[in-house]
Amino acid sequence: MNQAQIQIDRVSKVYRRDAIEIPVLREITLLVPPGVFRALLGPSGSGKTTLLNLMAGIDKPTSGRILVGDREVSAMGESELARWRAEHVGFIFQLYNLIPVLTAFENVELPLLLTRLSRKERREHVKTALSVVGLADRIDHYPRQLSGGQEQRVAIARAIVADPAILVADEPTGDLDARSADEILDLMRRLSSEYQKTIVMVTHDPRAAATAQRMVHLDKGVLTPATPHEMMDLRGVRS
C-alpha cells in the first residue's frame, strides 16, 4: 500500500466522563484522496486531534466507519491495529516525542524493530531516511544535542523510515521558530509531492495550512467550510 485513500464515513466520537457524555465529533464524513496533503484547521477543542487519532488508528470511533485503502480501521482489534499502524502510518508530533536516551539513529530505527529486516537492512533504511530529512551527519546525536527543528526532522525520518502510506502530523510546527517551521513544511510538501505520501496535518497556523493542497475546517466537532478570515489568511500566505 504505497498510496492510501482515507475514507471517513459518518464518524462520531463521544467521550464519557463518569455519567457525562461529551460529543467531540458529530457525523463526520470526509475523503482524503491518496497522495494528497490535507490540513485540518479549527479552534482548540474542535476535535481536530481526535479526528487525526481516529484516522491513525490510535483511537476508535463511537459510531461510523473509517477505511484506509481497503482496510476498515475502525473494525480492527488492538493487536491488528498495532500491526497496521507499524506498516502504514507515520506519526509526527508537535513536541517531536523522541526517546531522549536514544540517538537520532536509534530513534529512527524504532519502527523498523517491528519488521523482519536484518540489522544491515535497518541501518540502510535509517541512513536513507535521515538523508531525506538532511540529517545524515547527525546520526549519533542525542535529542538534547539537536535544535528543535532538527529534532522534528529526526521525528519525520522516524515517521517515514518504514515507508508508510499515511503520515499524520499534529501541529508539527507548533513548537518551532518561523525558519525551522518553514523547513519542516517544505519537507512535508516534498514528502507529498515526491514520495506521494497521504498527509493529514492538524494545525492552528494558517501559514502551515497554506502548505497543504487542501484544507478542512472543524468547529465543535462538525466539518465546516473555511471561514472568510481563514481564507484571507491563506490567500495572503500563498501570495
Partner: protein, 386 residues
Amino acid sequence: MKFFHLVWKNVFRKKTRAFLTMGSIILVMVLIVVLVSLLDALAGEAAMGTLGASRIVVQHATGLSNFLPLAYRQKIEQIPAVLGVAPEIWFGGTYIDQRPEHFFGQLSTDPEIWPLINADVAIDPQQLRAWQSERDSFIAGQQLIDRYHWKLGERIHIQGSYILMDLDLVLRGVYKGRDESNIFFNTKYLENSWAGRSSQTGIFFLRVRTADDVPRVTEAINQMFENSDAPVKAMPEKEFNLQFLEMMGNVKLLVRSIAIVVLFTIVLIVANTMAMSARERVGEIAVIRALGFRSGQVLRLVLSEALVLSLLGGLAGVVVAFPFAAFLVEVMKRSPVAPFAYNFRVAPLTVLTAMAISVVIGTLSGFVPAIRSSRISIVNGLRQVV
C-alpha cells in the same frame, strides 16, 4: 535480541538510580549467598568429610557441665567397630586477658590416640612424637600460630578459670586442616595437677570404623550407661557441634526468616524503582505504542528492564560474595564457631540459587509496572508528553 539495546538504554536512563538499586540488590545477594552458605555449613558434612561422619562424642546426659568417669573409656573401647577413644576436657582458661580476641579452645586429650581420631588433620610426625613424649607440651592449630606467632619450643601460660589450676605448656607441634583454632595438651598433665578430678573427663571423643557404625555404636554407648550414676549421651560429631549453635536458639529458622524479610524488602525497593521509571515514561510508552509496538511487547520490554537490572545486581552480588565469604571465614576461624568455618564454602548450587532469586526479584518487581505500562491508553499517554 534486537530490543535488548532499547532495554539496556532504559535500564541506565537514570544512572544514579540504577546503580543505587543495583547496589541494594548486590547487598542482598551477598547476604543471601553468605546465609545460604552458612546454613550449608551448619548442616554440612562436606568439610568434615567421611572421617567426620565416623566420629562420635560422648558427654554426660545432663550436659557438658557434668563430668564422666574416666573408667568408661575401657568399656567403650570394648564395643565392636570402635577404633579409638580419647578423653577430652575443655580447659576454658585465660590466655593474655579475657578479651574475646584471645579466646581459643584449650583441650586436654590422649596424644597417643589423638592422631587416629583426627586422621584428617596434618601434623609433622617428628612434632607429633615430641608432643607425645612430653607431658607438659602442646600442639596448636596453624590459625593460632599465625595469630600469636608462637615458635616451636615457646612456653605459654594459661590461667585456669573454669578449672582452678594454671597451665604452663611448651609448643611442640603445629597441625593443619580442620578447626585450627584449638590447642591440645596431654590429659595426664591435668591428672597430676588437678586435685580431686584425676579420674574424670569432660567428654569422650571416639572414632568408629565407618559412618554406618555410628548409629549402632551411639545406641550401644547410651544403653551401656543408662542406669549408672553418670548416664551419657553419645552423638555424632556433627550433632555435637550443632548443640553450641542451638544454644543461641533456632539458628536456621532465624537465618531463613532474615533471608525472607530481606528478599521481600528488596522486591519492594526494585518494584518502586521500576514503577517510578515506568511512570516517568508514560508519554514515551504511548509513542512507541503509536508506532506499532503491541501491548505484549511493551510488557516484555518493561519486564526485561527489571530482569536485566536484578540480574546485573545478582551477578555483581555473587562476585562480591566470594571475597566477603572468604573474609567471613577468616573471622569465623578466630571465633567459637570455628568448626563451621571449615565447612563454609560457596557452592555452585548456592550461586545458581542466588541467580534464580535475582530472576524472581526481577519478575516480581517488574510485573506490576509492566502490566500497567502495557495498558496505557495511547491517546491519554500522548497528552502527557512534555
